[in-house]
Point group: D2
Chain length 321, copies 4
Amino acid sequence: MKVGVLTSGGDSPGMNACLRAIVRVGISRGLSIFGMHGGLQGLLDRSIFELTARDVSNIVHRGGTFLTTGRSAEFRTEEGQKKAARILTDEEFDGLLALGGNGTMQAMTKLCKLWDGLIIGLPGTIDNDIQGTDYTIGFDTAVNNAVNAIDKIRDTAQAFDRTFLIEVMGRDSGHIAVHVGISCGAEAIAVPETPTDLNEIATIIKEGRARGKTFAFIIVAEGDEEGDARTIAKKLSDATGENCRVSVLGYIQRGGNPTQFDRILGTKLGAYAVECLKKGISGVMVGEMGGELVLTQFEDTWSSQKGLDLWLLGLVDELSI
Amino acid sequence: MKVGVLTSGGDSPGMNACLRAIVRVGISRGLSIFGMHGGLQGLLDRSIFELTARDVSNIVHRGGTFLTTGRSAEFRTEEGQKKAARILTDEEFDGLLALGGNGTMQAMTKLCKLWDGLIIGLPGTIDNDIQGTDYTIGFDTAVNNAVNAIDKIRDTAQAFDRTFLIEVMGRDSGHIAVHVGISCGAEAIAVPETPTDLNEIATIIKEGRARGKTFAFIIVAEGDEEGDARTIAKKLSDATGENCRVSVLGYIQRGGNPTQFDRILGTKLGAYAVECLKKGISGVMVGEMGGELVLTQFEDTWSSQKGLDLWLLGLVDELSI
Amino acid sequence: MKVGVLTSGGDSPGMNACLRAIVRVGISRGLSIFGMHGGLQGLLDRSIFELTARDVSNIVHRGGTFLTTGRSAEFRTEEGQKKAARILTDEEFDGLLALGGNGTMQAMTKLCKLWDGLIIGLPGTIDNDIQGTDYTIGFDTAVNNAVNAIDKIRDTAQAFDRTFLIEVMGRDSGHIAVHVGISCGAEAIAVPETPTDLNEIATIIKEGRARGKTFAFIIVAEGDEEGDARTIAKKLSDATGENCRVSVLGYIQRGGNPTQFDRILGTKLGAYAVECLKKGISGVMVGEMGGELVLTQFEDTWSSQKGLDLWLLGLVDELSI
Amino acid sequence: MKVGVLTSGGDSPGMNACLRAIVRVGISRGLSIFGMHGGLQGLLDRSIFELTARDVSNIVHRGGTFLTTGRSAEFRTEEGQKKAARILTDEEFDGLLALGGNGTMQAMTKLCKLWDGLIIGLPGTIDNDIQGTDYTIGFDTAVNNAVNAIDKIRDTAQAFDRTFLIEVMGRDSGHIAVHVGISCGAEAIAVPETPTDLNEIATIIKEGRARGKTFAFIIVAEGDEEGDARTIAKKLSDATGENCRVSVLGYIQRGGNPTQFDRILGTKLGAYAVECLKKGISGVMVGEMGGELVLTQFEDTWSSQKGLDLWLLGLVDELSI
């Protein structure tokens, strides 16, 4: 059984642990595993090479993806998709494992219709915005990266008695923002999924000061409907009379050695994907929900939005009294 | 409603986030929260003081427990238990929240029979050896601490082509060892729950060398039946002809800023415990299983042993080919 | 001997270790030490309180400054300076220790002329832009914070084969940029002290690609004459045809637990400042140069610019071949 | 000019940054650089390979040494030394760069007498016990590793009001212990260079308790004349009546990504060694003293012991009041 594997879209920590599991468990169970360089474009460019157990030595603890990744404009065309299917057939692949986010699962939905080999997806993205798994590979590390950065900013916030607006990743979803906000004891969390009321946040800041709070953190998902952190900071500065500071965490959230959570999740899903391939399963993404390994049809992973934990988000006001 | 709160047994990272949630959500919902200093002994010594929302400022991100903790010899006697019940009645407490491990849940089982106030337990221990919750508060941080330490040792292992035996915490259980071992790509994991075959491990080391592996990690839970890491290293050195090195991670696993996982788990369980108290619930430990907040009778939290993920442990051989 | 101590300007990691040394060595040698809250404004507002040995417990390892800091508009006026001198006399202070950056040393230059007590400065700023000391308290931590952040970004740079422009602190000086750039293996370092040639940098990027380099880091001090990282990235994207990415590290550089270097430098300079006060020395900043503790007249600390290590900066081209 | 390079003795963080500087600056200045695998034994085994600029990509930030290292029993014999000289001549080497500690400098002292090529040493060891440089490559990282570990243990020490004995590396010298002890606010530091009085330490612990200190750290260099941390803990437990706890930090001190200090020191010394080779200099170790790059005859690097900063060590009592 000849199986291709690729990482697509943004890199996320834990992808390497997952690739290691795929390659080693795959080889151990009789598969031949071939890596594709640079995501779907690597498939289109036939940049494909066989992987041995030694090729994945010493990567379980590393961020990024040793296969490298990318976004392929060519694959977005129908032409490109047909070409990918043709190459998979030409090269006599039996299966394909694709590790990536939302966009990758959409790409696989299309490829499934054009190629009759087995395709299994694995959720690798820091955004945690995929249905069919409680957590995506990379989310835990990204949140911890943000939390550790904010723990540092706390020193300056305290030293200056300041209010800080901190922008975290999340163009369409507030999963990172909610986890970061609760973890850092934020006074408010602005996310795209729920209406953000800047007057209310201004009141929270002012009333907190009145109760003796010396500094405040407002966490902003980059996709919040009121604008990015800089825009919101300006409005809040006007509304509160304070000079609110801004920190945009950016790329530091994406990298670094993965946490144990992401190494283990990546390892489990990688091994499970191999088990499923061996059983002839196709057209699904592997995931973990409620502690169980589960399968979800590609279409169901991206066609509806994954909800936030609204109970947790609703606690913010009480937690920051 | 007057509610006492204490942390007992070993400290674990995330306890402070949990205490903050208890105090703030508690106050916000009309409770008066009183801290007890140094665990159960603090109750026995009437070292009790009211907590305000400001008293838990700036602790969400800190390891340890600001209430301090301890193990009370006095409470282990029937006399001590009766005295504790008497003090709770004398001081007109309506409820008690106890954050700790196995031993704490056993203590609460006894106290429930002697005092008619509401008692709720919260699982705070790095060992993850309590039934009724998938993860205990502190486990994720402890595993990450160990993993980060081993990522450093990896540099030396590689530089010298060495085999390292690494001892992690876990006197009666291998939860930490399994998570650490999978995360660090260990060649073998020795835990108390399953038989440890040193001949087999020696073979794994020697065969790995033959396949081109340049170094190896063996993770040992301190309670493994073959002995501690030093003892096992000696036997493996004899069996392999290599000079196997040892590192005992010890206390560094317990401390440090909690991860986002433990801050959030602590926060959720703290808030949930307050909600349960308000409903008059008693005699149970709060926990999270399969993503749901759940309650477990005190006795059921410690009377049987929590199983390891044997599927994951069984993958070790294939993952380290 | 009654001595005041304050931290002024931006907070920097190691200030707390320095304050601890001042308080404890001071008390041990018979001084009474009084903290001023929030920098020079605290002095002007008579927000002054005596410090005991216990008040500086458990801060040696913490970033920020427990005295809090600030920039005082009032002190910038002649009126304000006279008021400060008057308060110091009124409150019967014998000495004042001021921990801060460039601006703080300028303030002390002025205060020296208006008050006849003993004044000693201590260099606390992440910018390392003060003459009279090889390194300022906080510089080493700030550089390490930036370096650790870039080590994470490296994963994404590698995964995507990208060029990253990374902006570090340094409005008027490139000390942080040079140390960060060398430490991260940057292809080029843009600093205010030397002319920045974007065409040359574009050529370096393109020629590096031709030699097989898969990604590149360009470090930009925020005060570079060619603009901030975003501006430079745009020009370089045009010149190279690549989509150069930007990361502005911002406040995360300032906070976090200090490194051993800053804890020790802070401790040494704090103890030395006390020794100097006891000897009746005044009008100088303490520092460490070439491994020796030294004194520099206030005016000489800020009247000329501290040079970069040009030999080191000149190595960048060869180091990144 | 054909130049060999090897790393010998214990690995130390920053060695890779140093090797990168040697290879790239060397090649840039017309040298051919050849790596020797596994230290002096690699030379003896003719395990020698040419290094290109690309071979040292992506290692500036990594601990360990990509050349790997080792201790060679063969080289310790006169026979072995002669063989090494013969191979260097056979292979037509013009120069040799050796990166290592005390033992490496002793080996080079001998090799200099047997081979007439140019030999330059570079100080790479975490112990900082070499004359001719203020700091060795790796010392700063090792101290920070230890300090970060103890910052974690602090949480448990505080939570339990405990005294902790912490053993750090340093078989013959207390450099690490002194830096760690000052950085962590230790109550006492036991080093081989000065007499350790356990009665005095017991008194310090007891008097600290009486003054309101809730926990204590005693830092022990592994080579202290009173024994290792476990032995000392037992005696102190008897003398104080407390149950003193022990943590032996071990190998975690040696690994991990190097700090900016060690990356820069490694880079500077690597580039400087190349410059010296080009000038025909031989028989010396490069170092940095008082901010200047300096050369020291091999024999002078190890024939006398490098002193501790006794002023700093003498401050411990006052700093921990």
